[in-house]
Symmetry: C2
Subunit: 211 residues, 2 copies
DNA sequence: TGAATCTTTTATCAAATGGTAAAAAATCTT
DNA sequence: AAGATTTTTTACCATTTGATAAAAGATTCA
């Protein structure tokens, strides 16, 4: 048995790494925009700057490409981003959480959009992640919020829906950016996100602080 | 020139009316879920309970069906729902507006989802509506909010983004309902929307009232 | 009832789409 | 540089998809 660095990495050549990146990047953009069924291999191949058979040399099928991307997103985004520190200051924790989520929308809008596409299409491919890891994370966060409420550090509102509100407002700036851009013409991205952050924080802070 | 009831209605037969309804309903569901490109005529025809050629007897093309549905949605939803009364009580007006939007999400989730699909795919087919009527409505609403802010009836926040926040939170309950349902298992729709409304109103009311 | 009209089905089509085989070209290894 | 390996291209293929033509079946209305 030959030596191997790690269990999962069967030594990729430079060209493999490069093409893999091009494919994943092109596929993310396509799938995020048109969803799984609305995306074509020709389109992805073209966007990645290679022929369709060449693309299929790296991934055996459309499903394989999609699966690889979903895996990335679920592992890198949804789970790790959702941490609240129960021992921290509630207002600071929530504030930081909102900023984190909004920055993610700004820097990784395609991930957010792909996630939105998946949900809107019935979450067929991520149902197990949603009802497994994500749900666990969600309920832990609810618990923390409830503890804060019980200790009088947070206004008495429904923590389940408070989380939805935060997700909704922050993800909106990724998923609906086309509309936002159109309605706020002349504003550049930095300005938009700065104003958004101020507004969202202002509403939430006053909206959830104990009375 | 023969008599005609109205300029736009060339007397539809009963069977035409019935099939038209079936088609529009099936198409809305399909397009809202998979977007324009992800939807197929076979799928729509099957869902409408008729053959594909029969479907194409009523509408000449896939684009025609899509166009008919978009028209409906834009006219019935986006524009009329966005009215704020500048002379009313700001808190009451905004509260009513949120309730209206949230009820629409509850009762017409497919319209909301189709709109979301359009935006996420670049808003190609509704760009003129967005930058025309919707934008006008949007800016009028911004003006009203700004007046209230100037008169000290509303906290001094960015009205452009306040509107986005309201849109985001209310539409979220239509667009992401699959996820919400999955995370809030055992809860029925009425309960979910009741809790959502209380939470959203609570946060916004305290979040935007003058300090 | 029967002619005229409207609706549905059957049989197709060309283009697009996901995918394969195998040869050609490029790269790596020694 | 030669041989082995990896990467890319060319040429296809079977299905699916949007769409049409024309015949068959229903409805309507005189």
């Amino acid at each position: 048995m030959a030596k191997s660095n790690s269990a999962k990495k069967p030594k990729q050549s430079r060209i493999q790494v490069a093409n893999n990146e091009k494919i994943l990047s092109a596929a993310l953009e396509t799938f995020a925009t048109f969803g799984y069924r609305g995306s074509t291999l020709d389109q992805i191949a073209k966007s990645a700057g290679m022929s369709k058979p060449n693309l299929l040399y790296y991934y055996n099928s459309k499903e394989d490409i999609y699966g690889a991307i979903l895996e990335n997103i679920l592992e890198l985004w949804i789970i790790p981003l959702s941490k609240l520190n129960a021992d921290g200051d509630p207002m600071e924790e929530i504030k930081d959480y909102i900023i984190r989520k909004l920055n993610y929308s700004k820097n990784n809008p395609l991930s957010s959009k792909l996630f939105a596409q998946e949900i809107m299409q019935g979450a067929k491919n991520i149902k197990s992640t949603l009802s497994g890891p994500l749900k666990q994370q969600y309920e832990e966060t609810v618990d923390i919020l409830q503890q804060w409420i019980d200790r009088g550090l947070l206004k008495n509102i429904n923590p389940y829906h408070l989380i939805f509100m935060i997700w909704a407002t922050t993800q909106h700036y990724a998923d609906f950016y086309f509309q936002i851009e159109l309605l706020l013409e002349n504003k550049e991205s930095d300005k938009i996100f700065k104003d958004a952050q101020n507004t969202i924080l202002s509403v939430f802070i006053d909206g959830i602080k104990p009375e």
